[in-house]
Symmetry: C2
């Protein structure tokens, strides 16, 4: 029944109770871990000034911003000019000054600059909020979706990188998703550009390498050639990208290559020190130095991290890195930070596909009283008070409906126990309790019932 | 430092960690109670089609909708027509098809109609999400603010009204806010209009009565006169609005008046039955039948509810009522529902003013390790693993900074305990634990430390 009047805008979704309890399961698992590592919550508004957002995501990103019309008589600002003759961007700049946020990172940078005198640095914050992109909707890509970011800002310590790796490891272990954590360092990529004699083309090289997972080594080399990287330079890169070996062997290869690149050696040193930290703690997930890992976004300057699910095709479920100058775009220099973002929608899809959600998430109600009539329900209200007072989620069916209808309601709501309290039970002071799964029925006193439920998780 | 580049749009706010932990405290208290009564979570998108929103909130409401520009070349739809010559609403209809949601109620009605074949009726849902209104911002009024709605839809039972009153009572008792719950019934207001001989002017009468709290009885009477209500009709209403007495006395007065009004008597009957239910359970808050309570929004058809804080001026902190035809606007008739909405911002302000937030909300981190250097921090990482494994939120200061700086960080983050583990402690296998409140310091083994924290809530 998707009549045009009763549907959501293209690329947006309702989250009904089934989806909500599953999404809340993911978010609360993640939040608990963030809190255990000392991260604090933050929220910024849905709308930001366009002056905050524009120019931060490249030309393509600017086009994908949802722009909000100025309220009131927005056309008066155009004065007498002929707006029909204006091009789109000129008109937009007159009639719109706000946009929906495109990610959590730029508003976070704006927040840090705006509130820098109140913030307790190093600032460890997490942020779980929706963002909006006017992308063409397709399977798994929405125009409104949640991001789940965790960052430390105001410290250059590699302990922060370690902490994020520990958090990633705990999050996915908690959700029972087996993952591999891939790391690299932008300084290694810079070093590779240097030894190729193409230091000035580091961004183009990074963007090309970024696609290796999807398109393969040959396509990357073609793209590099198209960007005027000489063939002999590309030949220097190839063995690095295709090198097979463990993390230690990769670092040895790089250290040999980087004799002439201080930046490259610095990247190797950071990776080595991070590996030393990692070796000192318990990490369940595989951790792989992946020299072809690039991550497109250009504000990363140090470590980069990407998490993929083992034996499941879905792309990365978490990613991030260190940025040395994120707040520079708002005039605050020299604030280094590092952060990762969890892809809630993909994590949801993985868990649904692999059947990883615990059963009974929907059954918030543990016990439902059948409604036999006014007198009975007045009696049941007293019982309900006592039961809820003991912290047990319980309800009474609101209407005096047919038994079948009431039972079907309980069944669809995954309520495990139904209480039948008619005149006979009232007289005897008992509760007939029916187990909806086994069909078994037993007569209990209130004390027995409370005892029974105190043993149910 | 509110440089124009680093501020949020007018009427919107950042919620930093201090505000977030307090807001989360309110929301999680409320959610726990909703869940204990069997309500399930729902979320709808920030944007709705304008066809869903327009015409649902009156002319004023339509003007207060935030409209989102169509993406792509939105002007092409205007064809060759001279858009400079168009009036605003004509142009808007061409360049914008979506808006930010204005409340949670209309999107909920849209959801119910769209998903009616999947919903398990009676549908008990709660929804806590931001809404947007292009209102003039002022103290306590924002352009982005959270609503917190709880509704039962698909039942006419008064047990639902009772349940909402129980929930209201528990919510405010839990937050330690003393409130009075005022109730009335739209059928009583309809009955009053009937006995005034002005049944067709019920809405105008309701809207006038709605202002009595703010402007007083005389102003209400003047407004009624301006709406062409005859003086003798107004005289009939006056004694009802100014009647002093308890709930029982008020009902007696009404029953006498309503000899000629079946609707009025029905309203009295509903109130009496609800009162009977209420008498059967434990309600801490005062419950008052307030015959001047009207609630402006015109979709209410039965019970109306409003909650005010005792001895604190802030307006209502919760309100709602029964609506018999909310989904009718989307073509689905005869679905009755009842719901209330909690005013999160006002509740926040009350709690802050009356100092009702528990202390230590911000101190998610229970224990911080001072960072003495690389060797020490490697050792501390192992301890941290064990401590976090026991469910205790803990962190290590990421940098090897001066002691004063590290202590100041812990202090501002309201961390109660700081662990000092230098080379001496490592050698002895102990942890020096400093209580940041008392300044006391003690030496503990890991087992002793874990035991100590297991006794801290």
């Amino acid at each position: 029944m998707a009549s045009p009047k009763t549907s959501t805008p293209k690329g947006t979704r309702d989250f009904g109770p089934d989806e909500m309890v599953r999404r809340n399961y993911i978010f609360s698992s993640i939040k608990n871990i963030f809190a255990r590592y000392g991260y604090l919550p933050l929220e910024t508004p849905a709308m930001e000034k366009l002056s905050t957002l524009l120019g931060k995501y490249g030309e393509e990103g600017d086009k994908l911003l949802f722009k909000v019309l100025n309220s009131g008589d927005f056309l008066s600002k155009a004065g007498g000019s002929d707006i029909s003759a204006m091009d789109r961007s000129r008109l937009v700049s007159i009639i719109s000054e706000k946009g929906l946020k495109y990610d959590l990172t730029v508003p976070f940078a704006r927040y840090v600059v705006q509130h820098r005198n109140e913030i307790n640095f190093p600032f460890k914050r997490y942020q779980i909020q929706p963002v909006w992109r006017a992308d063409r909707p397709q399977k798994g890509r929405y125009r409104e979706f949640y991001q789940c970011d965790v960052d430390v800002i105001g410290s250059r310590s590699l302990l922060s990188e370690l902490e994020l790796i520990q958090i990633i490891d705990e999050v996915f272990a908690g959700l029972k998703i087996k993952v591999k954590i891939k790391i690299n360092n932008r300084k290694i990529l810079a070093g590779l550009s240097e030894i190729m004699g193409q230091a000035d083309k580091m961004m183009a090289i990074t963007m090309a390498i970024d696609k290796i997972e999807k398109t393969g080594l040959d396509a990357v080399c073609r793209e590099l050639a198209e960007n005027d990287i000489p063939a002999e330079a590309i030949e220097k890169l190839k063995p690095v990208l295709s090198f097979k070996g463990d993390n230690r062997e990769k670092l040895l290869l790089l250290k040999k290559l980087f004799k002439e690149s201080a930046t490259g050696l610095e990247g190797c040193d950071e990776i080595s020190r991070l590996m030393e930290y990692v070796a000192g703690v318990n990490i369940n997930s595989g951790l792989e130095l992946d020299l072809s890992l690039a991550r497109g976004l250009n504000y990363y300057t140090g470590a980069i991290i990407e998490v993929v699910v083992v034996d499941f095709e879905i792309g990365s479920v978490c990613g991030g890195g260190r940025y040395d100058d994120l707040t520079g775009i708002f005039g605050l220099k020299d604030i280094s930070g590092v952060g990762v973002s969890f892809g809630a929608d993909r994590i949801y899809d993985v868990m649904l596909s692999l059947d990883l959600f615990p059963s009974g998430l929907l059954s918030s109600t543990k016990l439902m009283f059948v409604n036999f009539g006014k007198e009975e329900s007045l009696y049941c209200l007293k019982l309900l008070e006592e039961i809820r007072g003991a912290g047990i989620a319980a309800e009474i069916y609101p209407d005096v409906a047919k038994m079948k209808k009431q039972m079907s309601y309980a069944d669809r709501k995954q309520v495990k126990y139904v209480a039948l309290v008619g005149l006979e039970e009232i007289e005897k002071g008992i509760i007939s309790l029916k187990d909806m799964e086994t069909g078994e029925q037993e007569s209990l006193s209130m004390a027995q019932l409370l005892a029974k439920f105190s043993n149910i998780p």
